[in-house]
Point group: C2
Chain length 356, copies 2
């Protein structure tokens, strides 16, 4: 017997909306959630009928494997509204593909594409009032999967929960960011899980980042764990360097997250005739370029902040300031991507995905 | 004002015990839990009054940071009973020290020593019937800390929950173990969190281990991530090699868990006049020793399995079988440690800690 894909989602609507209580001009990132959430459990070897229910706390055993072994992966994506209240996602197929790539590395079963898209669209239809039009506004969507089996032997879970929760957002980073190049701590190993959005990759960065923050640097740019000579990525952003008029970014490998913003920047650079080299970037080269004045920009690229200009870096006790420039690539790409996301520019590559 | 340490624990006893329903001769590791659990929340910048309550599911927000960023650490320890129903722990101060070391690396506040010991002793007094006398029986104790703040920005939690849950156990591994030496995947990076019992370290091993299992090897012995030339440790055990009559084990570094069983073996070897070298062990050396017959034993050392003899290893497509030997070091150390744990041998180093 062939099982047909479930095309129904059980929906329980919230009796009242919390939206009136939310001050959309003063949103702390990731602390306010919409009225509904998407939930789908993996049991008896398969994903069960998905449901959408009012956003609420859940009940879970203290022995659930996620608490003990960090068997959990997630995604980060956003929904945008144009001036006509049409709702769009940005390259969501890539998020679906990536959460399954992350899942495979963490021994978590892959999540079916139709559930993912059906879930997103039902959820966004219910909670679309939470998406405010206007560039800079968005609804941050957090799909994630956790291992729920109540068993603490060191083995993969037999049961999982896939969820999507939604949080209204303004720009993530305020102002320019000062960064530190990692010299001692590392984010991930060759042959490890750095390329996956595995939960533990993030918690592991909090302590080194807190040390950086005490020295006045908001973020760390991670280097390869073996030599600390090559620049890889930041905690939640891929990194671009502009030397002269050329952009440079590290190639993907098993330590680096294959960012959707990163690859969009690479494509836009091509569209705009800006040279972009995807190759290893050494600390030495960037220090030298900062010294001789050819380093024009460094910026991060990621869903949360879109593009985040970096104004200074520290390495081996030396601080290098990067002067503001007019017509920066950072603002060019930021505007370019935001315009596509908000349906204010032509979508040459089919990146917009309308929710109907 | 100096705050005095809280010496009271709020205790709510279970109305009925589940113990009658448990078949102590057929225990799957880590699936059965005792009647009570210890819970202590970190809020407003400090650990609140601890409590012991009936073992139960808990309520937690889907946005709790532990689910998204794996900000979680744990310990593994055991309680043992002697023939007179006296209850002992084994070197518990080391578990307390280590959970705080793990916590610091994961930006989690340290847990006070008096709460830890008071919690353990109250909990074990309530659930002592779950500890069966007899070598091989124990109550596995799982202290752990999870980040509970309902916020999904990539930053450390403001709130945490420390818990201890208890699960009756027999020997963890059945029979001898065949292992694979890691050649591609890695467990942790220099400058990473491998030395910590951080949740994500474990989930990250499930997939590579499942591949090994498909090839007929139950465990992986991890090598250094940069070269894969040096043998480090297994998923939940440190590793010892016996070449001739000399024991060798890798030194601690920031990739390796500083195991309590490991250091007990090193001390017992000293007591017994067995030479033990703590130094880097290369794959090459172990292959050569297997080939010329001088490799007598490999065994793992960890709380769950105590000592786990390894009967074969695979590397670069070659499988090396290790013949059984009489009077193995593995059985010597296993017996030695179990006898101390169960109060059947003299405790020369003050490792036993009686719960009264
Ligand atoms: C480690 C890491 N690098 C880079 C990115 C940027 O990826 P994307 O552009 O797909 O958001 C993210 C986050 O999303 C990340 O977590
Ligand atoms: C990675 C790892 N190595 C080694 C060990 C052994 O340490 P211990 O002897 O303290 O149990 C453990 C588990 O406890 C572990 O998780």
């Amino acid at each position: 017997m062939i099982e047909s894909p479930i095309n129904e989602i059980d929906i329980v609507k919230a009796k009242t909306s919390k939206i009136e209580k939310v001050d959309f001009n003063n949103l702390a990132f990731g602390k306010t959630f919409t009225d509904h959430m998407f939930v789908c459990d993996f049991e008896d070897g398969k994903w069960q009928t998905p449901k959408i229910i009012p956003y609420q706390a859940m009940t879970i055993e203290p022995s659930a494997r996620v608490f003990h072994y960090g068997q959990a992966v997630f995604e980060g994506m956003k929904a945008y509204k144009d001036e006509n209240d049409r709702v769009f996602l940005f390259r969501p197929e890539d998020n679906h593909r990536r959460i399954n790539k992350s899942a495979a590395r963490m021994a978590i079963p892959e999540f079916p594409k139709d559930y993912f898209f059906k879930g997103l669209s039902e959820l966004l239809n219910l909670d679309k009032d939470w998406i405010k039009p206007g560039i800079g506004n968005s609804l941050y969507l957090r799909p994630f999967v956790i291992a729920t089996e109540p068993a603490i032997s060191a083995a993969p879970s037999e049961t999982y929960r896939f969820m999507i929760i939604c949080s209204p957002a303004k720009a993530y980073y305020k102002g320019k960011v000062r960064v530190l190049f990692a010299e001692k701590f590392s984010r991930s190993a060759d042959g490890g899980v750095g390329f996956a959005k595995a939960a533990g990759n993030y918690g592991a960065q909090f302590y080194p980042t807190s040390l950086a923050q005490k020295k006045g640097f908001q973020q760390i740019i991670w280097t390869d764990a073996s030599t600390h000579e090559y620049l890889e990525e930041a905690g939640t952003m891929n990194i671009f360097f502009r030397i002269g008029n050329t952009l440079i970014t590290a190639p993907n490998n098993d330590r680096i997250l294959d960012g959707i913003t990163r690859k969009s920047v690479i494509q836009l650079a091509k569209d705009l005739g800006i040279e972009c080299e995807v190759r290893r970037v050494s600390v030495k080269e960037i220090r030298a370029a900062a010294q001789d004045g050819s380093l024009k920009e460094i910026f991060g690229a990621g869903t949360a902040a879109v593009i985040s200009p970096i104004s200074a870096f520290e390495h081996a006790g030396d601080v290098f300031e990067i002067d503001d420039i007019e017509e920066s690539y950072a603002s060019l790409f930021k505007q370019g991507i935001l315009n596509i996301q908000h349906n204010e520019a032509e979508d040459l590559h089919g990146w917009r995905f309308e929710i109907k």
